[in-house]
Subunit: 387 residues, 2 copies
């Protein structure tokens, strides 16, 4: 186990009925809220009304920034920063999934900065302060509700970049599994792909010195994510399934599974971000395409570890590590297909002739993230396996 | 899954070399430290010198309260409160295991109270403030380094009682697995019994609605605790084994495994505390005696869950739940015996004729904890199974 610092101060209020506490929680952190949300699903499923009613009950004034889309964009972050400043909002309330929360995080940091907020994402500046952030989670996958990371796409440059800071980690996150009942089958599947990718990128980082504890935690979470996704697809209002998924997805990327793993790299994310940036491929869908391809490309470097996953998760009994690893990767790909998230560029109508442009975009991010092993040739080699 | 609030703001600095950061961390929280420690093992293994050297390097003045014993006592807490007040200490530094940290927690709360600190333990008062607490962990088991609980024995009344408050949760905890190299075989085994009991008391609370996630997390941690205990006994300076144990024991009782389980009760602790209070039985040893007996007494109420543990942890294949449960309990008892922690009153020379007095003591605590199912008859029935 490598040395690590673990710190996760977000207070999680988990379970049905908790959205009624939103107003009281907001009131602990500010006088006026900027309410950030998406394209309207929270108005259809009643979450918006619950939030507004709680804010009103606690007499919290607020102003609204709707319109966050999947693969959230920098231009809306700019708009939010101006709105927060103009309206004197001193606390941000994000009601949505990872895209909404990440937009809110970027706004929270941007309001306090005297420079372009994008400099926090392209690595030129470090976040030094942010407005406090409270979240009400309605799509579970990113774990952004309990971590210090944010991912934003620069809609001018087609770069999907990320930043991390304890300053933007939510103070309080409200997780009510019943908000997940109305998520589409597609996004239920994309969410599973996202959560699984978060875990496996750490898992395959866990090599020497090898820590059995973190492997077991990931396997425990992954079994739960798979089982609860299948149950949620079978019965979208299965509260227990949604609850198990929701808490597992949070724990999957709140720092716990990677503590002790050293500097974890996120190659499937690096590759997937280029698909989102260039084709607006949904985040989870981009990962179910790139993760199995990345695994196939690199499994020969550590067949034993890839075989462990195959045996623990898919019950594969082949005693040969390489064979077990290959079968495990195929089983993961088949499971993604089964739940309804794509595993090839072709199935998303992304032409093979675009591979050089996709690879160049991904290589740009690999350089920003310092992933030196990922030359343009390696990246294109992996994308060849996604066709 | 039941509704829950999860909040755990302790910052953990994990890994070798981190004790050198003690002074800098202390300096963030106060001007003068009260250094609380035990009966001298930290002077033998070099931890004391590392701490003092770090405090000196950061120019942090301090005063010392040595002498904490296993099953820490109220009289030393009183002494610590007087010392902190008299010397103007405004931050507490605990260097030791659960006994030292719990003493430090009680002092931290007691300094800020205008009444007898014992009232926080007998349920008459709630903690409203405390001095900040930093810990350097040297015996891993209690998870007190990352939770809000403290257990103290009143040496006047022979009551071993507990309290909980976010105010006494450590701000920072430094976990260096190499501090565990010099722990005796006995205490290595007692530590395992303590960590396992923390997990299983929650595990058997997880009934309806049943949450597979928490079961799997407990099983992942329990496998790690057992495996790393055996490796540590075989090679006391096995860093990886000690590291896996150390982090698993912390996660075993930092609130994660019980989040969603509702109001978890701690019956094995309730019963074990009476042995510690009356015979000074080490905490972990008291639990390896009471846990299997408690399991045997109650397994008929939920044979399926007890069978699950037997199958998952001990690989028992008997398809009959009751039979599998019984075998699993025997295997746990045998494992405790194998690693060297007792499983009977007899092996600790506690005479069977004392059972009425032991049961009466335990019943007193059951009443304080509101465990209404534990009548004197039930308690004596369980203790009968520990003879």
């Amino acid at each position: 186990m490598q040395n690590f610092v673990f710190e996760n101060p977000t207070r999680v209020l988990f379970g049905k009925g908790n959205i009624a506490r939103t107003g009281r929680e907001i009131k602990c952190f500010g006088k006026k809220a900027l309410l950030v949300y998406g394209s309207g699903s929270i108005k259809k499923n009643g979450v918006y009304d619950q939030v507004i009613s709680s804010l009103n009950e606690s007499q919290v004034p607020f102003t609204e920034l709707p319109g966050v889309k999947s693969n959230p964009v920098l231009s809306l972050v700019y708009e939010g920063i101006e709105k927060a400043k103009g309206e004197g909002a001193d606390v941000i309330l994000a009601v949505g999934g990872g895209s909404v929360i990440d937009t809110a995080k970027a706004i929270a940091a941007g309001v306090m900065a005297d420079h372009d907020v994008w400099e926090f994402f392209n690595g030129k500046k470090r976040i030094q302060a942010a407005l406090p952030l409270v979240t009400v989670l309605t799509i579970s996958a990113s774990a952004s509700e309990m971590n210090p990371a944010a991912v934003i796409t620069n809609d001018n440059t087609s770069q999907k970049f990320s930043t991390r800071s304890m300053f933007i980690q939510p103070k309080v996150s409200i997780l009510d599994p019943s908000t997940l009942f109305t998520i589409s089958r597609q996004y239920t599947a994309y969410s599973a792909a996202d959560a699984i990718t978060h875990m496996l990128e750490g898992y395959f980082n866990n090599t020497e010195p090898h820590s059995p504890l973190q492997d077991r935690l990931v396997e425990a979470l992954m079994r739960t994510v798979m089982e609860s996704t299948e149950a949620s697809l079978a019965k979208p209002d299965d509260y227990e399934a949604r609850a198990n998924f929701m808490w597992a997805a949070t724990l999957a990327f709140n720092g716990m599974t990677t503590a002790g793993m050293g500097a974890v790299t996120y190659p499937a994310h690096m590759l997937g971000h280029s698909l989102s940036a260039l084709y607006d491929t949904p985040h989870g869908a981009s990962l179910s395409i790139t993760l199995p391809a990345w695994m196939a490309y690199f499994s020969a470097c550590n067949p034993r570890k890839f075989a462990r996953l195959a045996r623990e998760i898919f019950g594969i009994t082949d005693p040969d590590d390489s064979a077990a690893a290959a079968t495990g990767i195929e089983r993961l790909r088949a499971w993604f297909e089964k739940i309804g998230t794509p595993t090839s560029l072709n199935s998303c109508s992304i032409p093979g002739s675009d591979l050089p442009a996709i690879s160049a975009n991904a290589h740009g991010l690999a350089q920003v993230w310092g992933l030196k092993d990922y030359s343009p040739g390696v990246i294109e080699g992996i994308f060849e396996l996604c066709r």
